[in-house]
């Protein structure tokens, strides 16, 4: 029985055998989302990307699958572990960063804000329908002039009797133009507070940013809030100061740490497959040293990055994960994913620039992922502060 005694050759796409480190339940989550992506996303994503659309029905499909707010407990949510949530992000982003972005914004930003900082009435009112994908949420923190420096935001809410009057502009808001509700962060006399603003509120308008070459299968919008009158119960009672939105961002960044490795794996897989079938000088290009060097570099970073994500996920589930460690994951994994996408593009030669292959789509998407949810510069400074004790932000 030499067959069973010999250690088998590792899987090229899971070289470190990380799948074996997952529980049966985690593996089933991963496989279920991967099957969904293969059936429902991959056959259509190139068209969505080209046409610059994300079909609204996808929200209900993702809701039925149960990925929207899957790491929250109750209110129709699955109550999955951080690792299971990360795996879902990885498989969704192996489809497209735009699809993962939608799920991140819905679950980790909009739903999480209500879940963590909302009243019981707000949770009951919004979360079950958001989990089902019937209501779409977005998250308004960034403004045209304030990205990495949100504390200087100009959006302001002031008291008008028991109501609030909200005015300002939010920019680069994922899902803004299709959202039924927005979590809007605004200055008040009591510091930065969060509000649930339904899109039907008079004075609320969204303008989609159409001319972009990245995250095309994702709606990105500018939100204008022109004296929106909000009832007192639109305020998220438990969030005070910038720590509120930053807690939400920390959740989403954790998912990106995983998701980026999904995009990277898809690029690496495409390059590996292509290199084995593309013949030049009478041999598959996978047999050339320069191509192998690229492929091996990709394999190293995909596997290291996924191992990092799994490690951070286990820490998150154990309650020992510090926000700066999420920055560690986001900084490393998005940077490496982008490098892998660019290298994979070169392995595919001219084919690499077409939408016939997933590579340039992922590559362009990752340029946005590098910037949003904390730029690589901001994460560098968070880590710099964490290891030196000195803040270099200003």
């Amino acid at each position: 029985m030499t067959e069973s005694m010999r250690v088998p050759l590792p899987d090229a796409l899971d070289f470190l055998g990380l799948d074996a480190q997952l529980t049966d339940e985690e593996r089933l989550v991963r496989r279920t989302v991967a099957d969904f992506v293969a059936d429902r996303i991959l056959p259509r994503i190139a068209t969505w990307f080209e046409e610059g659309i994300l079909p609204r029905e996808l929200a209900q499909e993702l809701g039925a699958l149960g990925v929207l707010g899957m790491h929250l407990h109750g209110y129709g949510c699955a109550g999955a572990s951080a690792v299971a949530y990360g795996l879902a992000c990885l498989e969704l982003e192996a489809g497209d960063s735009g699809v993962r972005s939608f799920a991140s914004v819905q679950g980790s930003l909009a739903m999480f804000a209500i879940y963590r900082f909302g009243s019981d009435e707000q949770k009951e009112r919004y979360l079950p329908r958001m989990a089902a994908g019937e209501l779409i949420g977005c998250f308004g923190l960034t403004e045209p002039d304030f990205g990495s420096d949100p504390s200087a935001m100009r959006t302001r809410a002031r008291r008008a009797g028991s109501d609030w009057l909200l005015s300002g502009t939010k920019m680069w808001i994922t899902s803004g133009g299709i959202a039924d509700l927005a979590i809007i962060w605004a200055q008040t006399d009591d510091g930065i507070r969060g509000f649930i603003v339904e899109s039907a509120t008079p004075g609320f308008s969204a303008r989609n940013i159409e001319k972009k070459l990245s995250l095309r299968a994702s709606v990105t919008s500018e939100l204008v809030l022109d004296e929106c009158r909000l009832p007192a119960d639109a305020l998220l009672p438990e969030a005070r100061g910038l720590s509120g939105p930053l807690a939400c961002l920390n959740e989403a960044r954790f998912g990106i740490t995983w998701g980026a490795m999904g995009a990277a794996r898809a690029c690496y897989a495409a390059a590996l497959e292509y290199s084995k079938t593309r013949v030049q000088f009478g041999r598959p290009i996978s047999s050339f040293q320069l191509t192998q060097a690229k492929l091996v570099e990709m394999a190293l970073e995909v596997n290291k990055g996924t191992l990092l994500a799994l490690h951070l996920g286990r820490m998150k589930d154990a309650g020992t994960l510090h926000p700066s460690q999420v920055s560690f994951g986001k900084l490393n994994n998005v940077r490496e994913a982008l490098a892998i996408a660019r290298s994979a593009r070169s392995v595919l030669g001219a084919n690499g620039v077409t939408l016939e292959y997933p590579v340039i789509r992922h590559m362009n998407n990752l340029e946005s992922v590098l910037t949003y949810e904390g730029t690589s510069e901001v994460h560098t400074l968070i880590l710099g502060q964490a290891i030196t004790g000195s803040s270099a932000f200003v």
């Binding site: 049966d24 089933l28 699958l65």
Partner: protein
């Protein structure tokens, strides 16, 4: 109403299949074990039936598997099946179609059922013989290759696929039916279903619980595998080029006509 779905666990159909040249069996190690894809259609048919019938209808998944692989059945539970039962023992290894059907029939009698739903065949062995043999051993009507199922007035009505269309057949319950892929695409397990599946039971029964009166496993096999051979290599394809679509269509049309295929 109690519905039992028979489920086989097979090596991932997407993985490359390898045959051990000495034992002449499919190599199952190093390949992920999954639900037989055809059985997922049987599960889907059962879950649809439960949704339509409502009330106290239950769906049980039943599988003859080694204890070590039973967790793979969680997917069926995550899809919405109420519980699972496995028949497991080393003595069952090497069972052929008949021995499998015999042992499983005794298990099904013990579980009890109003309706047994089977997939059409298994992705690994592909004999497709178990459903018919099961119905025979169970002594119940066996309606195979159904594309649609209904329970009306306590009777099973099925549309049975044929080469040219379908037959409308019915049978008294208890009954057994095997389904085709036309019953509907198997649903994805929801993540909530996956989280809930760990609380559902997978019970184990052994041949000793069943009072079998004949040998099972390789000892009870009526068939013997004599040799295996890879399929003959396909001849090289003929590639034709055409200036445009209509010209190409004509070439294909003439070719099919020459072969008397149209």
């Amino acid at each position: 109403m109690k519905i039992v779905v028979t489920v086989k666990l097979v090596p991932d159909p997407n993985a490359e299949k390898r045959i051990d040249p000495v034992g002449m069996r499919l190599v199952r190690s190093g390949v992920e074990t999954v639900l037989n894809p055809y059985d997922e259609y049987a599960l889907e048919a059962a879950l649809q039936l439960r949704e339509r019938l409502g009330g106290d209808t239950t769906v049980t998944a039943f599988s003859m598997v080694p204890e070590s692989t039973k967790e793979t059945l969680r997917k069926a539970l995550a899809m919405g099946v109420d519980d699972a039962v496995i028949l497991s023992d080393a003595s069952l290894a090497g069972s052929d179609t008949w021995a499998t059907a015999y042992a499983m029939a005794q298990g099904l009698k013990k579980i009890g059922f109003d309706l047994v739903i089977c997939g059409g065949l298994a992705d690994d062995g592909s004999t497709g013989g178990v459903p018919g043999a099961l119905a025979e051993y169970l002594g119940v009507p066996g309606l195979t290759n159904a594309r649609h199922l209904e329970i009306v007035d306590g009777k099973l009505h099925a549309q049975r696929e044929t080469d040219s269309g379908y037959q409308v057949v019915s049978g008294a319950l208890p009954a057994l039916v095997s389904v085709t892929m036309a019953v509907g695409e198997p649903r994805y397990p929801s993540l909530k279903g996956i989280m809930g599946a760990k609380k559902k039971s997978i019970a184990t029964m052994a041949p000793a619980d069943l009072g079998l009166d004949r040998a099972v496993g390789s000892d009870g096999a009526k068939t013997e595998l004599l040799a295996i051979a890879p399929p003959p290599a396909r001849g090289s394809a003929r590639v034709v080029e055409a200036a445009d679509g209509p010209t190409g269509a004509k070439i294909i049309f003439d070719f099919l006509k020459e072969k008397k295929l149209i």
